[in-house]
Amino acid sequence: MKHRPVADVSALPDHAFGYHAPIWWGNTLMIFIEGAAFAILAASYFYIRWNFDAWPPSRTPLPGLGLSSINLLVLALSAAPFWNAARLAQRHERPVVVGAWLAFGVLFGIAAIVLRWFEFKALHTRWDSNAYGSITWTILAVHLAHLLAGTIETMLIALVMFVGPVEKKHYTDAAVMAVYWYFIVISWFALYLIVFIGPRLI
């Protein structure tokens, strides 16, 4: 078959942001997968609820709202450094600047992970006590896994920005990292409402 050139693409850029970038799609589909998993966990929570007369089960205190609400606030504020890092990355700021904002975000991540420890305690139950304990512990643990993964990933991207060889496409990674972090934050708003506020309403 003969080939008839109709266009030359050599002048096109070598990276892009947002939904123009494959990694943005990879990340978004990952969010779909994990969002679906959270939804299934939430559905299981409500399904199990109807096996109990009282919720939380009798003799289990209501989940504590003190540190868990502080953690919610920490996670809400954590979106800001990520938002700024993504904004600066899209403007191709110097790598250390983007890296510094990501490192700032990592601090919030670490704080949230530490506070999560107390949230487990605030549930006043254990995973092996009954189905209520199983589902609430699992929801917190699965979200904790996201927090850990997101924090470590951010740390690595920040490290690349500080010491690694940086190409323009790595700015795309930094911007996409922020999208993943927003998912971690937003999903926690829903799960916090279900696990900590829910028992007061249903």
């Binding site: 096996n51 009954n130 940086v166």
Partner: protein, 650 residues
């Protein structure tokens, strides 16, 4: 054309270069071959990230599992051929039917469909590799290790034995002590990771890497089918991820998700499993629909009738497929409203499938069909799937379902839809695409034997099962008494299984001989219209010499004068590809694919090892996370690409 404005097109006729000379083409071919070469030998094989080599081994592995699952089916048929047979005892029989179902669903049907997609989607949309080549390699290794785990355990008498859907409480810690069900749960972990990876690859590749001009309304229907099925995987698999993890936790760390004594619920398992399990059927079936569209188009030499209706049917099938799961649970206490809703949904899904069948009939009617083996398998699909669909409509009705539930009637139904709806299209696809995969034609004569033996064997095996079910024979029993009067029909069914095995042997012989002595295929032996046929057979490592530009739905039929419009200017000394916009496929930017590496295999070995360890101790999860962290850091740590893009100073 819209995209002409987005790239520096040669609008002025004086600037437009002429046809590329043979010399220029040879030079490009040589450079691309050097750049995309992955070397030879075992080490290169283990490091490969080329979508075609990975899909090839995916397909071969899936066929091996198909044969293992088939051998298990044959053993069950021998055991059931006469009453009070003592060839297989009850414990082994339980393991075998569980292995058969788990193998066919998790290790054959889903992987093989994704593998065919991962091979042909990049070729059909005119790109050089899948979006994330290393991740793709990881997917294959995880799948392979999951299958090996299941079979090694089986050979050590630790095969799962609670059926492929592992209902609790039977599968729970109280009634299934030992490790058999943990093996099952972790095999699921491996295969779900592999399936999700494949789905993400396909969606991203289809959305971002289509040839310029291949707007959404010009995508080949097979690519549409893979796209829709991949979205189903993305939303359905999380249900089994969660539920199999819950099962593993109930068994390992004493959670109570499915333990009614502590507020858990056995029916929760059924809901979660079938919320995955029913879409799973369509995850297998929708790619098969795409294969049929490709084949019918080629062998009737006309465009598919009603392309928009076909695409909308695929999408609505996918949506409805998520609303049917409860019809697997009609024998459990359900509210009347739930019963009505799921009966209606189960009947409604016949509509989009019907639309597609009528579009195909219209295509065949108005075209000039060539009755090749591939086309015969498509005809076989029509007949068998219609029978399976009719028995499906019967059991969608609750009063009938309560009679037929857990009998051989259901076994007959599900084999008609799965063999008819997935295996026949797969054979059709194999005969259709084998020339592209290997450069050789399969023998048509052996192909006809293959088809007729399979078609007859399939009906002889499974049709009597309808009657057995109506006579009350339950599924999953290892033997029965002579007074039940089921002996003759079971013997007929077993004879049918022998015919199917003969057919598969003919198929394997055909492949074996054709690989050596088959007629050379040439680029486009069937005069098909889609882009995979624009390159040589088998395709070179970089797929297409130049990225084609698409100006219609049938690029090769449009280019009958032998001229293919292409873009130039992509670097040939790097793994460079062209990315285009999601809707209209206008060129956006260049993209460098990752090259070969051993890291996916290392991650699969260590991550997989920790998944197996997690059968015995929860620390396996912790260790696995640490191993994954270290390996992924090496994986993603950037290596500088000299002269690609100037690194920035800090």
């Amino acid at each position: 054309m819209a995209h002409a404005n987005a790239i520096p097109a040669f609008d002025d006729p004086d600037d437009r270069p002429g046809m590329l000379t043979a010399n220029e083409e040879d030079e490009t071919w040589a450079t691309l071959t050097r750049t995309w070469d992955e070397g030879s030998g075992l080490w290169a094989w283990l490091r490969s990230t080329n979508h075609k080599s990975i899909s090839r081994r995916y397909i071969v592995t899936a066929i091996v599992f198909f044969m293992l699952g088939g051998i298990e089916a044959g053993m069950m048929r021998v055991q059931l051929s006469r009453p009070e047979n003592s060839y297989i005892g009850p414990d082994l029989y339980n393991q075998i039917f569980t292995m058969h179902g788990s193998t066919m669903m998790f290790l054959f049907a889903v992987p093989v469909m994704e593998a065919v997609g991962l091979y042909f989607v990049p070729l059909m949309i005119g790109t050089r590799n899948v979006a994330f080549p290393r991740l793709n390699a990881l997917g294959y290794w995880m799948y392979l290790f999951g299958g090996v785990l299941l079979y090694v355990s089986f050979f050590y008498n630790t095969g799962p034995d609670a059926g492929w859907f592992a209902y609790v409480p039977l599968a729970g810690p109280a009634y299934s002590p030992g490790k058999r069900l943990d093996i099952w749960a972790q095999m699921i972990t491996f295969t779900e990771i592999a399936a999700l990876i494949g789905a993400v690859e396909i969606v991203t590749t289809v959305f971002k890497q289509r040839a310029p001009g291949m707007s959404l309304n010009r995508i080949p229907l097979f690519v549409w089918a893979m796209l829709v099925s991949s979205f189903m995987i993305i939303f359905a698999l999380p249900a089994i991820v969660v539920s199999s993890s819950m099962l593993a936790m109930d068994r390992l760390i004493d959670t109570h998700f499915f333990n009614p004594a502590e507020g858990g619920d056995a029916l929760l398992w059924q809901h979660l499993f079938w919320f995955f399990g029913h879409p799973e059927v369509y995850i297998i079936f929708i790619p098969a629909l795409g294969m049929i569209s490709s084949i019918i188009e080629t062998f009737t030499r006309r465009r598919i009738f009603g392309y928009p209706a076909m695409v909308l049917s695929l999408i609505s099938t996918a949506f409805l497929g998520f609303g049917l799961w409860v019809h697997h649970m009609f024998a459990t206490p359900l509210p009347q409203l739930g019963q009505s809703f799921f009966t209606a949904a189960s009947a409604a899904i016949a509509i989009p499938t019907g639309v597609q069948i009528f579009c195909w009939i219209a295509t065949i009617w108005s075209g000039r069909p060539r009755f090749t083996t591939s086309f015969l398998f498509v005809i076989g699909f029509f007949l068998l799937f219609t029978i399976g669909g009719l028995s499906g409509v019967m059991i969608a009705s609750i009063p009938f379902d309560l009679q037929a539930h857990d009998t051989f009637f259901v076994v007959a139904h599900l084999h008609y839809v799965l063999l008819g709806g997935a295996v026949f299209p797969l054979f059709a696809a194999f005969y259709y695409w084998f020339p592209k995969l290997t450069g050789r034609m399969l023998s048509e004569r052996a192909g006809r034997w293959n088809f007729w033996l399979f078609f007859i064997g399939m009906n002889v095996t499974f049709f009597p099962m309808h009657l057995l079910g109506l006579h009350g024979m339950p599924r999953r029993i290892y033997t029965y008494l002579p007074e039940m009067g089921w002996g003759n029909l079971n013997m007929i069914s077993t004879i049918g299984a022998v015919i199917i095995i003969a057919s598969v042997c003919v198929f394997l012989g055909n492949v074996w001989i054709s690989l050596r002595r088959g007629v050379p295929a040439g680029d486009n032996p069937w005069d098909a219209s889609t882009l995979e046929w624009a390159t040589s057979s088998p395709p070179p490592s970089f797929n297409h010499l130049f990225i084609p530009v698409v100006e219609g739905r049938d690029p090769l039929w449009d280019a009958r004068d032998g001229e293919l419009a292409v873009v130039t200017g992509l670097r040939t000394d790097r793994h460079e590809g062209l990315l285009t916009s999601v809707m209209d496929a206008e060129p956006e930017h260049r993209y460098e694919f990752k090259g070969p590496t051993i890291l996916p295999l290392i991650l699969a070995v260590f991550g997989g090892g920790c998944i197996v360890l997690a059968i015995f101790t929860p620390w396996g999860v912790t260790l696995g996370a640490i191993a994954a962290f270290i390996i992924l850091t090496c994986w993603f740590w950037p290596t500088i690409s000299p002269d690609y893009d100037t690194p920035r100073t800090r």
